[in-house]
């Protein structure tokens, strides 16, 4: 899957989760509070199920979850 396709899937996921308008790729998720402590748990499970990637806990870095673009980059870089 390309980064663009991953980004599109993530945009749809967040739109469904937040029940609001679609987020832009660079909109803040952490500082804005959109990605709270429960949302990150659910997101990590979604990434595993949807993209068949393992985001290793030991490699977890909050910077990778700052916005949709950074998450898409992370997913694209993970072995599938």
């Amino acid at each position: 899957m390309t980064e663009v396709q991953i980004l599109a899937t993530l945009t749809e996921y967040f739109a469904k989760e937040q029940g609001t308008k679609a987020l832009g790729p660079d909109d803040s998720l952490l500082q804005s509070g959109i990605l709270d402590s429960l949302a990150i748990v659910k997101l990590l499970s979604f990434l595993e199920d949807e993209f068949d990637v393992e985001v290793d806990d030991a490699d977890f870095d909050p910077e990778n979850f700052e916005n949709l673009r950074s998450i898409a980059k992370l997913v694209a870089a993970e072995p599938q």
Partner: protein, 381 residues
């Protein structure tokens, strides 16, 4: 779907049961009265290999898979009445050993894991604060970066093993603006200047598992004390909660099995109105419910273990498991008391310990309400 356990797992379960019956008895009531930790039991568990069950053999562990660990904890829960010892063991293993294994540097693993597995070091986990319980990530303990390390300031409360811990995994914020994403874990040795640990707090249950408060006053820890990287605190906490919410609660399942066996025996022996009370549906239905709870608890716990054995996350499943098993333990403890009637109310039958331990189980590792929040979030609510 194969629900069977292997012959090796059955053999290990038997050996754990035999060990617990042989070595983990003693005068539980006396220990409870004094609030005394069962040190002899702790060291015997270490000799047997309990503290090293999930740990790699390179550090002296038994390198057992998650399901086998769960089966062993269930056996311990059934045969060992000292629930405080079991609680301390679980805290040590899932909330301190496992984080060091999964997030630690090689130096940290070498420094701590062999001694923790041998039972020579006791681990604890310091997250909860006076103002941060269910809202764990609103913690206020700060870790300010200075040259060569971090300075910790703050206070922790209800910390299991604190009064006896040699090593504490302390969670502090390194970036308050980021909330949960700004929390970092630190491995702090006891006697570190600036860290003060209270005497054991008096609890209504789990009396033989020491619980304390910790305060940090300009407590300097070196850079090498950080576990993982800055901001990984939530990842550490979430990972260890999946272990705790499955393996610790396997001990509850074991206790429920013991309760059921004792109640069935009682129901067969006790006669009223010309027959054994087990013949009355009001009694047999309670016992049937107790059996159903064990079966369902085992299924969900084993599912969590299966997922974790395959490297899968199980946040939803571990929340369901914790909720189901902890509430089942409370329901079965109430039923066990009721089945035994007046005799059950006598302290000789130790129903009070089960009830109060079960009450604690609905609170620690995230309250039942928090587990329901997690489950509701996965429903999209």
């Amino acid at each position: 779907m194969d629900f069977s356990i292997s012959s090796e797992q059955k053999a290990f379960r038997r050996s754990v049961s035999d060990f617990a019956k042989r070595e983990l008895g003693g005068d539980m009531r006396a220990r409870e009265k004094q609030g005394a930790f069962f040190w002899d039991g702790w060291h015997k568990c270490a000799e047997f290999g309990i503290q090293g069950m999930p740990m790699p053999s390179a550090f002296g562990g038994l390198e057992l898979d998650t399901t086998t660990c769960l089966i062993a904890m269930q056996a311990l829960g059934k045969e060992c009445r000292d629930s405080g010892l079991l609680f301390s063991l679980n805290s040590h293993m899932w909330t301190c050993e496992i984080p060091v294994l999964e997030f630690g540097s090689e130096e940290q693993k070498q420094k701590y894991l062999p001694k923790m597995i041998e039972g020579k070091l006791v681990g604890g986990h310091a997250m909860t604060e006076p103002g941060a319980g269910s809202d764990a990530y609103s913690l206020r303990t700060t870790a300010k970066k200075v040259d060569g390390g971090y300075v910790l300031n703050g206070a922790k409360v209800f910390i299991s093993n604190a009064p006896i811990a040699d090593l504490l995994l302390v969670f502090a914020t390194t970036n308050k603006e980021l909330g949960w994403a700004g929390i970092t874990g630190f491995l702090v040795d006891k006697d570190t200047p600036g860290m003060h640990i209270s005497k054991p707090l008096e609890k209504i249950g789990l009396k033989t598992s020491p619980t304390g408060e910790i305060s940090f006053e300009d407590c300097l820890v070196p850079d090498s004390a950080m576990l993982g990287r800055e901001g990984q605190g939530s990842a550490i906490f979430n990972a260890e909660m999946e272990w705790e919410r499955s393996c610790l609660f396997a001990c509850h399942l074991g206790a429920m099995q013991r309760q059921l066996e004792e109640c069935v025996e009682y129901a067969k022996d006790r006669e009223q109105f010309g027959q054994s009370i087990g013949k009355f549906q009001s009694v047999s239905h309670k016992l049937a419910d107790m059996r159903v709870r064990i079966e369902l608890g085992e299924l969900i716990l084993h599912k969590v273990a299966w997922m974790k054995s395959r490297g899968k996350r199980a946040p939803l499943e571990s929340a369901i498991a914790k909720l189901v098993v902890s509430e089942s333990y409370m329901d079965s403890s109430v039923d066990a008391l009721q089945v035994r009637g007046g005799y059950g109310f006598m302290s000789e039958y130790q129903a009070d310990r089960d009830l109060l331990d079960a009450a604690g189980g609905k609170i620690y590792s995230g309250t039942s309400e928090i587990q329901r929040n997690i489950i509701a979030r996965f429903l999209g609510l």
